[in-house]
């Protein structure tokens, strides 16, 4: 699914656009532990987190992860956006809380009531 479709589903604001060729998203992983984000980040994964520090961009870059979504309307460190630009990672921020964000993303990715198979 295109990143734009997911952004639309959660009314997110784009702080740093990623490169156009890398915005296909197949999985979403949500978490606040850096180790877990590191382990689950991948080439078609968007990370959803309530963290907002520079290291997020570093993890995304190392793991070839195309997009980061910050929740709760977090104001990211300016260095995060710089690092994301360098690593070609999209950064979006959404005003909703973690639960609401994940719920909407899930519905958009997997449909209304269908279970993830």
């Amino acid at each position: 699914m295109k990143l734009e479709q997911l952004i639309e589903a959660i009314d997110a604001r784009v702080l740093q656009p990623g490169s156009k060729g890398r915005t296909e998203i197949a999985h979403v992983f949500a978490g606040d532990k850096m180790s877990a984000l590191l382990e689950r980040a991948g080439p078609e994964t968007m990370l959803v987190t309530s963290l907002a520090n520079t290291q997020l961009a570093c993890v995304a870059e190392l793991m070839d992860c195309p997009a980061l979504c910050l929740v709760d309307g977090a104001e990211p460190d300016p260095t995060l956006l710089e690092a994301a630009a360098r690593g070609d990672t999209a950064v979006v921020v959404c005003a909703l809380d973690m639960f609401e964000t994940c719920g909407r993303l899930y519905r958009r990715l997997y449909g209304d009531d269908s279970r993830r198979s």
Binding site: M34, T49, C58, V59
Partner: protein, 528 residues
């Protein structure tokens, strides 16, 4: 081999991760596979962050070998007080500041270990910590075991390494206690079947033209071609005569023995050899010996008499009827499968045919076998005259071929070599002692010869490429040099502990990248 060092500054959480980033750039240049890159990045980043969060400064050392990534992260810092505790997922001593940034979940060391193929950590309180991680760059380089006529039940292996030592072409490996066969080197000679105490090796049972559950014979009258030794496998109470009768009852009206073609081959080679200039002529009696020459003694190929092996000639003779063949060894099975172009031929392993016979033989053994009048006059078995050297057993065969290659066998006109003792009587597929089996056959009075034809080989015997190190000769030479150099650095004990049969084989396995993570356990332990 490339060595790099990336310095890490402690405490500076903001621009942490630069060592891992630079490492990634370097690895991208050499084309590391994506999944492997992920694992390396997890290990490198976690290790780097450990230094940043806990220590004053450190270095990320990387050594890139041909087949593996080695990382060593050494820091100067407080060290880890309790390593066991530090390895426990969830345990962390990170600062509140680090935790706020999402670190300090207590997953760092466990994650590095999970991402690594080899992992080590040691630490001195008050001094610092060293984390070592090795990740294999290739995950799969093993050739499939039992490529052709052999099947390998690796899970039965007890790790005795007998097969490793016995294999005449060094085609066996026991990596991680799992025996496997390098099919390019295997000549299917039955040696491994014979030495294995656990029954790991067998003639392969299923093939494209083997339908094991279909009734054998019964329907249309069929030809059965078996090694004579098969009839001698049921003990002294059930002589070959009875076995033969029961086979006929099964519906095999025409029962032939591979030895009929073997005898004719021997005879033909004798007259062929009389006209040859190049001595000795090698009789293609045993397909495994042919395989041995083709792969290990290519200079002797011109000396093989240009005829089909007996089992192939038998297939030719039966090509127009339904025939069932019982191979005595994996190499015969492979030849049968190759020769069966029409798909008419049925291949049944000895064990399977025995399984069908045994219930019927039980009822038979009750009827007293008429005691045959035994001919006690010594038969002149194998009296070939001085110019024919008949030899059995793969060790003897190898030794004689080595002599022949050096020109030390010129006194013989013909070599009749078989890998198994007493020819097919000695295949480990059969249980009866080869001498007993042969005697039982010759006492049976069943020996009669029907005329059969020897068939010229359809294509000349050719060298096998299995030993070549590379299709490109220049590269093969380079590899050979590397193998020699590496072999010279190994202890030379040929102990087999690494899973390869000799130090030279280990060097070859490493250079040809046959399996990830190969190394010499003796050197690793630091023994002299």
């Amino acid at each position: 081999m490339i060595t790099s060092c990336f310095p890490i500054v402690g405490g500076k959480l903001d621009d942490a991760g630069s060592a891992s980033r630079r490492l990634k750039e370097q690895l991208k240049q050499i084309g590391v596979d994506g999944q492997i890159m992920r694992r390396i990045m997890i290990a490198a980043y976690e290790a780097e962050m450990n230094v940043v969060i806990h220590a004053f400064k450190g270095n990320l050392w990387v050594r890139l070998d041909r087949d593996r990534f080695n990382m060593e992260v050494i820091d100067q810092g407080p060290g880890i007080a309790d390593l066991d505790l530090a390895m426990k997922p969830g345990f962390s001593t990170a600062s509140a500041e680090a935790k706020q940034l999402g670190f300090g979940a207590g997953m760092g060391l466990p994650n590095i270990k999970k991402a690594s193929d080899l992992f080590e950590v040691d630490s001195h309180a008050g001094k610092g910590t060293r984390v070592r991680s090795t990740i294999y760059l290739k995950t799969q380089a093993v050739e499939q075991p039992g490529g052709r006529g052999l099947s390998v039940q690796a899970e039965l292996c007890i790790g005795c390494l007998d097969c490793l030592k016995a294999c005449p072409t060094r085609a066996l490996r026991v990596w991680n206690r799992r025996p496997s066969i390098l099919s390019t080197l295997c000549i299917e000679c039955t040696t491994c079947i014979g030495v294995c105490r656990a029954g790991v090796f067998k003639i392969r049972e299923t093939g494209r033209n083997n339908q094991p559950r279909e009734p054998i014979a019964e329907a249309a009258p069929q030809t059965l071609v078996i090694p004579r030794a098969f009839l001698t496998q049921f003990g002294s109470k059930i002589p070959p005569r009875i076995v033969l009768a029961v086979l006929r009852n099964l519906g095999f009206k025409d029962i032939r023995f591979t030895e009929e073609w073997e005898k004719e081959l021997r005879r033909t080679v004798r007259s062929y050899a009389a006209e040859q200039q190049l001595y000795p002529v090698i009789s293609p009696i045993c397909p495994a010996v042919i395989g041995l020459i083709e792969s290990q003694f290519p200079s002797l190929i011109a000396q093989i008499a240009p005829f089909m092996t007996p089992i192939e000639a038998a297939v030719e003779a039966c090509s127009l009827r339904m025939a069932t063949f019982v191979p005595a060894c994996p190499s015969q099975r492979t030849l049968l499968e190759q020769a069966d172009l029409s798909g008419r031929l049925r291949i049944v392993n000895p064990a399977e045919l025995s399984g069908r016979l045994i219930p019927r033989l039980r009822t038979q053994s009750d009827t007293p076998a008429s005691i045959q009048k035994q001919n006690t006059r010594p038969t002149r078995n194998g009296s070939h005259g001085p110019a024919v050297l008949e030899a059995w057993g793969v060790d003897n065969v190898v030794e004689i071929l080595e002599k022949t290659e050096k020109g030390l066998a010129g006194e013989f006109r013909i070599l009749e070599l078989s890998c198994c003792e007493k020819g097919c009587y000695g295949t480990p597929v059969f249980e009866e002692n080869p001498y007993v089996a042969q005697k039982r056959w010759s006492a049976s009075g069943l020996e009669r010869w029907r005329p059969v034809n020897v068939v010229s080989a359809k294509s000349p015997y050719r060298a096998r490429t299995g030993m070549r190190l590379d299709a490109d000769m220049g590269k093969a030479i380079e590899k050979l040099a590397r193998i020699d150099e590496l072999a010279a650095s190994l202890p030379g004990r040929d102990c087999g502990a690494c899973g390869s049969p000799s130090c030279a084989s280990l060097a070859e396995d490493i250079v040809l990248d046959r399996h990830p993570g190969l190394e010499c356990p003796v050197l690793r332990r630091g023994e002299p």
